[in-house]
């Protein structure tokens, strides 16, 4: 008699089911490593800021007029994909598609607004260490958003083909957690780049 | 053959012999005379005494630890060496977990923690001691690292007392000297082992250290951070002399070049070929790419400690610097034999 026979025989799920799915765990690890990447990016920002004794950091205070609404857009998109994931869990194809599509549209808005904001900055990636860090950090984030949009697009297509349902929707959950992750990262980036200059007592 | 060898070895290694062997091994580390031939050796230096003591201390602890662990390993291994050969694998007994000397592990843990905490505290105390010089420095120098030579500027609040030299530093014995470090290109490291530990020269920031020679002498230094092709040949010298000798040297260094060589053939060659990169104060030669040569002949070496400063070597260096230091910033000059002799005569007057 082996150990597994000593307990009541249980039905075990088969395949990619919810949080039992291998892909879910892999994505969690992926989030940890990408989160670490942003940690090091923000470390570079804070370190360079602290070491720049001679110059003003940043050269001028960042405007929140675009970045703040854009942050809201991203937060709402997280809500949208949450809604889509819930639809997948319930087997509700309409909700699934609506939520995913809304998240994609909001994501595209975020990217567009950010490109516009970049275009209107008085400094470039070449101007100074600050400029290099600003565009690189927001650029890395934007790249992650764009990858997220591709993932969501794939999810949308697969949803439309009816692949996911109440049992098998691990893919949607995996995409959703990635999307929430880049949202949280944006909050950290936003705080670092847009809020901390105001906290340092400059006006 | 093996059993006899083993038996013989364990018989030979009696406790007294073992101790003798360990002692002999340790003694070589403490033999000063044998180490006198290494100019960059710092275990017998003239720098802060407590750093040397700490170094000897951790070295001794390390050696003792290695000896003890090796001994334990050998005893643990050899005690099973002589047991009878075992039968087939399957019949082999296992040593049960009940004989689990985890206490041994705890004991070792506590012992190593105690030693490590002790060394940590000792380190902190020593670090606090050497963080600042024992008294206010009387001499201040600024060292700028270049690929692959040292620009040395003696500082003063009185601008007329400031002068620049290269690769060789004179200091008065017994007085701390403040050293400001910066770099013109890449990261270098200022290291004169007999006097002090290393501090890096990093472009974009000023690092500060101090040195103090408690006896007169000549102390060699070396760049200690990989800085490119000729990192191997970026040496320097610190010469600690009595206060009077130092003052005499300093006053000499302050003087500009006299007028006596104006118009000489050697000076013409120098102006044509060398002045672009080198400075001789008091003349039109004002190049800043290479070392200041105003008092070249007061230095014992050239090319940042690579060659002795003697006529043959000086000629060889000027004729073909790329042969001595391939990759150095001093190019092969288009210079014929006569020009070479002339410019060398000129340089030999730069006292």
């Amino acid at each position: 008699m082996s150990l597994v026979e000593e307990v009541e025989p249980r039905r075990l799920p088969v395949g990619s089911i919810g949080h039992h799915a291998t892909g879910w765990w892999a994505m969690l690890c992926g989030i940890v490593t990408e989160g670490a990447l942003f940690g090091y990016l923000l470390f570079s920002y804070y370190y360079s800021a602290m070491q720049s004794h001679a110059e003003l950091w940043p050269p001028e205070l960042p405007h929140l007029s675009l970045a703040l609404p854009n942050t809201i857009v991203l937060l709402v998109s997280s809500g949208a994909i949450w809604f889509g994931e819930r639809g997948a869990k319930r087997g509700n194809a309409r909700e699934e598609l609506l939520g995913t599509a809304a998240a994609i549209i909001l994501g595209i808005i975020f990217v567009t607004v950010q490109f516009f904001e970049w275009h209107n900055k008085p400094f470039s990636i070449h101007s100074s260490a600050y400029g290099s860090l600003y565009f690189t950090i927001t650029g890395f984030h934007m790249a992650h958003v764009m990858v997220g949009l591709l993932i969501l697009l794939a999810i949308l297509i697969w949803c439309w083909r009816g692949y996911f349902g109440p049992h098998r929707h691990a893919y949607v959950s995996i995409a959703a957690i990635y999307w929430h992750f880049i949202d949280v990262v944006w909050l950290a980036v936003f705080f670092t780049i847009y809020i901390t200059p105001y906290l340092s007592g400059r006006s | 053959m093996w059993p006899e060898l083993r038996a013989g070895l364990s018989g030979w290694l009696s406790p007294s012999r073992t101790i003798w062997l360990i002692g002999a091994f340790l003694a070589q580390f403490y033999c000063a005379p044998a180490r006198a031939n290494a100019p960059l050796n710092y275990l017998f230096g003239a720098g802060p005494r407590n750093v040397s003591t700490l170094t000897w201390g951790v070295l001794t602890i390390s050696i003792i630890v290695v000896v003890i662990v090796t001994g334990l390993l050998l005893f643990a291994t050899l005690k099973s060496w002589n047991r009878p050969a075992s039968p087939a694998w399957k019949e082999r007994e296992l040593v049960p977990r009940a004989t689990n000397p985890v206490a041994v592990v705890y004991a070792g843990l506590i012992l190593s923690t105690a030693v490590l905490l002790g060394v940590t505290i000792w380190t902190m105390m020593t670090l606090a001691d050497v963080a600042a010089p024992p008294s206010k420095p009387t001499v201040s120098i600024e060292v700028t690292g270049h690929e692959w030579w040292w620009e040395i500027k003696y500082l003063s609040s009185d601008p007329s007392q400031i002068f620049t030299t290269a690769n060789e530093i004179h200091i008065p014995v017994g007085k701390p000297v403040a050293v400001r470090l910066q770099s013109a290109d890449v990261i270098h490291s200022f290291w004169v082992p007999a006097l002090s530990g290393k501090t890096d020269l990093i472009p974009g920031q000023i690092n500060k250290t101090w040195i103090l020679a408690d006896r007169p002498g000549t102390f060699r230094g070396q760049c200690a951070e990989y800085c490119g092709l000729q990192h191997a040949h970026m040496g320097l010298k610190i010469i600690a002399t009595s206060k009077n000798d130092f003052e005499a040297w300093r006053k000499n260094q302050l003087q500009s070049e006299s007028e006596k060589s104006i118009g000489s053939a050697g000076q013409n060659v120098f102006m044509q070929k060398c002045a672009v990169c080198h400075t001789v104060r008091g003349t039109r030669a004002g190049g800043r790419v290479g070392p200041d040569l105003t008092h070249l002949m007061t230095r014992t070496t050239i090319a940042a400690g690579t060659l002795p400063n003697r006529p043959g070597y000086l000629s060889g260096w000027i004729a073909d610097p790329q042969h001595v230091k391939p990759g150095s910033k001093m190019p092969r000059l288009q210079i014929d034999g006569q020009q070479l002799a002339e410019v060398r005569t000129y340089l030999e007057a730069l006292n």
């Binding site: 597994v4 026979e5 025989p9 249980r10 075990l12 088969v14 395949g15 089911i17 765990w25 690890c29 490593t33 090091y40 990016l41 470390f43 720049s52 070449h126 260490a129 600050y130 290099s132 690189t136 697969w158 692949y163 349902g165 | 290494a38 100019p39 960059l40 710092y42 170094t55 951790v58 070295l59 390390s62 662990v69 005893f75 005690k79 099973s80 399957k90 007994e93 049960p96 977990r97 000397p101 985890v102 923690t113 380190t123 902190m124 020593t126 670090l127 963080a131 290109d185 890449v186 082992p193 990093i202 472009p203 974009g204 690092n207 200690a224 092709l229 990192h231 191997a232 391939p326 990759g327």
Partner: protein, 648 residues
């Protein structure tokens, strides 16, 4: 198409005497023969051996680089190499050994062994496993392409700026290093992810966290550390590449950049890395030494905790590589203290091994010889590190040959000696044949003596002031004899390694047949045949202790059952279990062999090449290829249970 049900009760079966079961499982798990099978295989055993062979090839390349340097340094003022050649060699030697040998060799052993140790049929993500191997191989080829154009990286393996900036080093040398490093980082990070998921979720039922084989503790710990630390160095090299080619100002002091930012980012990865490349080796010793000593490891829990603690502390000491850079005294004091304290958990393993040998009855096999030699060089490497941890002492020792001695004692000592012992221990399992013991012992003595004769004198030349990274030195420095001895020792070491190579090649053909358990060892991999069948275990074993195969003789009353358990034969399946207690949790459907990993790594290689060449349209094309292949790879499949409903 097979119907994949949403759940089922898995059947329990006795594995012995069921040849039809073996044939059935083989039909699902065995790779097809021929070129397709070779290129598309996802079998962890094949991939593990590939990792090991490839890593040893890089060891050989790095070794040759070292030997050439030792010829140059054997005498003062030699002209065997120009300064530029020397600089490229010492840089490539460091890069190759530390990045392309030291972790991949341990990855190879773990990729091969972890599923077998844990009692499952493959790694959690088999296609990812294949991908990480191909990326490792191609990134190494990418790096070594630099030699073909005579432009190997030459700013040292730490690649400090500004020496590595575009102004100081305008050629492609540094770009090769930067891009190859980022490329390899993809493999290492994803490999870490694979191990984490495998070790946490794919264990045999009953293998609760305190029954985990000690080698899995090592692999798990460093996998988490890899995932957390590699982004730092990938970022550093990416920022450098940007500074070099896109006019950014991260590191350039003239425009507000910080040269020390490079050092912080580099060492934030670099220090954890040096623990990543030794802790699995130490855990291999902890795994195999008890087998040699015929007893369970003394203080298993302490050793497991010590492994984790060492790694955690390893994240808090990076500044000790920067003690000479002019940091504030408080920072120096803190990092010095932690660097000293980190020796404590390392010491735990040492005492555990000594106690295991002392109370055990060691078998004096080649494995044991290597492990005994390992203990001696472990301690020497450890104490030289202890010495450099003290700041005022480090100010003399850093950047001298003392540190070179230290790093080689910890790398060759902690990594290579353990690896060689592990090779002699697990070769029979991997190949079905025993390595020759006489050749093994001769090899050991050449390696042990050659290594110590070669590297011990470096402590002394370092104490006598010999700096690192110098292509020559003059005779009046007093280092000449020491360098000559070192050079001779290094060749003796090389001969020792060659003898092991000969042993391997010879034993593959004429070695004694091993059988399933030639060492009478205790863990699950020894319950399979040698080599194991493609599916590893005909039934998923259940375990009740750390030493399942020794339970009856240790008499502690546990009841593992290696030969009775879930059969999971409805396709290519294995079992997922819960994280802490290893309760059966899910039946995992495993992917078939696939060319996608190979194709994706080729596309990535193309991408990095286009970055080298700054060919932006081609870059866009390779990015599209990457996208297409990734989507094809991840397209939901019914066979993996990823699609709702069954086929009609």
């Amino acid at each position: 198409m097979t119907e994949i049900e949403y759940d089922r009760v898995p059947k329990v079966v006795e594995a012995i005497g069921r040849p039809e079961l073996s044939a059935r499982l083989r039909s699902f798990w065995e790779s097809k023969p021929g070129l397709y099978g070779w290129l598309a295989t996802v079998d962890h055993k094949t991939l593990g051996i590939r990792y090991i062979v490839t890593a040893f090839i890089f060891l050989g390349l790095g070794g040759i680089e070292a030997l050439i340097m030792r010829i140059q340094l054997a005498q003062p003022n030699e002209h065997v190499l120009t300064p530029e050649e020397y600089n490229q060699l010492f840089t490539m030697h460091g890069i190759t050994m530390i990045l392309w040998y030291a972790l991949p060799i341990l990855t190879g052993f773990s990729v091969y062994l972890q599923p077998l140790l844990l009692g499952c049929r493959d790694m959690a993500l088999p296609r990812l496993n294949a991908f990480t191997y191909w990326v490792f191989l191609f990134s190494g080829v990418f790096l070594y392409a630099s030699f073909l154009i005579g432009a190997a990286p030459d700013a040292g393996w730490f690649n400090y700026v500004p020496l590595a900036s575009i102004e100081q080093d305008p050629g492609p040398n540094i770009d090769f290093y930067a891009l190859a490093n980022i490329f390899l980082g993809i493999s290492t990070t994803l490999g870490g992810v694979n191990f984490i998921v495998t070790i946490l979720r794919f264990r045999a039922p009953g293998m609760s966290i305190n029954h985990l084989p000690i080698m899995s503790w090592g692999t798990l710990t460093i996998s988490v550390a890899s995932v957390l630390s590699i982004p730092a160095v990938s970022l550093a090299f990416f920022l450098l590449w940007m500074d070099r080619h896109f006019g950014t100002h991260f590191f350039d002091p003239a425009t507000g950049g910080q040269p020390l930012l490079w050092q912080h980012l580099f060492w934030l990865w670099g220090h954890p890395w040096v623990y990543i490349i030794v802790l699995p080796a130490l855990s291999m010793v902890s795994q195999a030494l008890p087998v040699c000593c015929r007893r369970p490891l003394v203080g298993y829990s302490l050793v497991a905790l010590a492994t984790v603690l060492t790694m955690v502390l390893g994240f808090g000491v990076w500044l000790h590589h920067m003690f000479a850079t002019g940091l504030p005294t408080m920072a120096l004091a803190f990092f010095s203290a932690v660097s000293l304290i980190i020796a404590i958990p390392s010491a735990v393993s040492l005492f555990s091994w000594l106690a295991t040998i002392w109370t055990g009855r060691p078998d004096f096999t080649t494995t044991f010889y290597f492990f005994a030699g390992f203990i001696i060089v472990f301690v020497i490497g450890g104490v030289s590190g202890f010495m450099t941890a003290s700041v005022p002492v480090d100010w003399q020792l850093t950047d001298t040959y003392f540190v070179v001695a230290h790093i080689h004692y910890v790398l060759i000592g902690w990594n290579l000696f353990a690896v060689l012992g592990a090779l002699y221990h697990w070769f029979p399992k991997m190949s079905g044949r025993m390595l020759d013991e006489t050749l093994g012992k001769i090899s050991f003595w050449f390696i042990f003596i050659g290594f110590n004769v070669g590297f011990f004198p470096m402590h002394i030349s370092g104490l006598l002031g010999m700096p690192r990274r110098i292509y020559t030195y003059s005779p009046e420095m007093g280092w000449s004899t020491l360098n000559l001895i070192t050079s001779i020792g290094s060749f003796v070491l090389a001969i020792g390694l060659l003898i092991t190579l000969v042993n391997v090649v010879r034993s593959l053909r004429v070695g004694r047949i091993a059988g399933p358990n030639p060492w009478d060892a205790d863990t699950l991999e020894w319950s399979t045949s040698s080599p194991p069948p493609p599916y590893n275990f005909a039934v998923i074993p259940t375990v009740a202790s750390r030493s399942p195969l020794w339970e009856d003789r240790l008499g502690e009353g546990q009841k593992s059952s290696p030969a009775r358990g879930f059969v999971l034969d409805q396709g290519k399946e294995t079992l997922g279990t819960t994280m802490l207690d290893a309760v059966p949790d899910v039946i995992v459907k495993m992917p078939e062999d696939s060319l996608a990993p190979l194709l994706l790594s080729l596309a990535l290689a193309a991408l990095f090449t286009t970055m080298m060449l700054e060919a932006w349209w081609w870059l866009a094309a390779s990015a599209i290829a990457i996208l297409v292949i990734t989507v094809a790879w991840l397209w939901p499949r019914r066979s993996l249970g990823e699609i709702e409903g069954s086929t009609s």
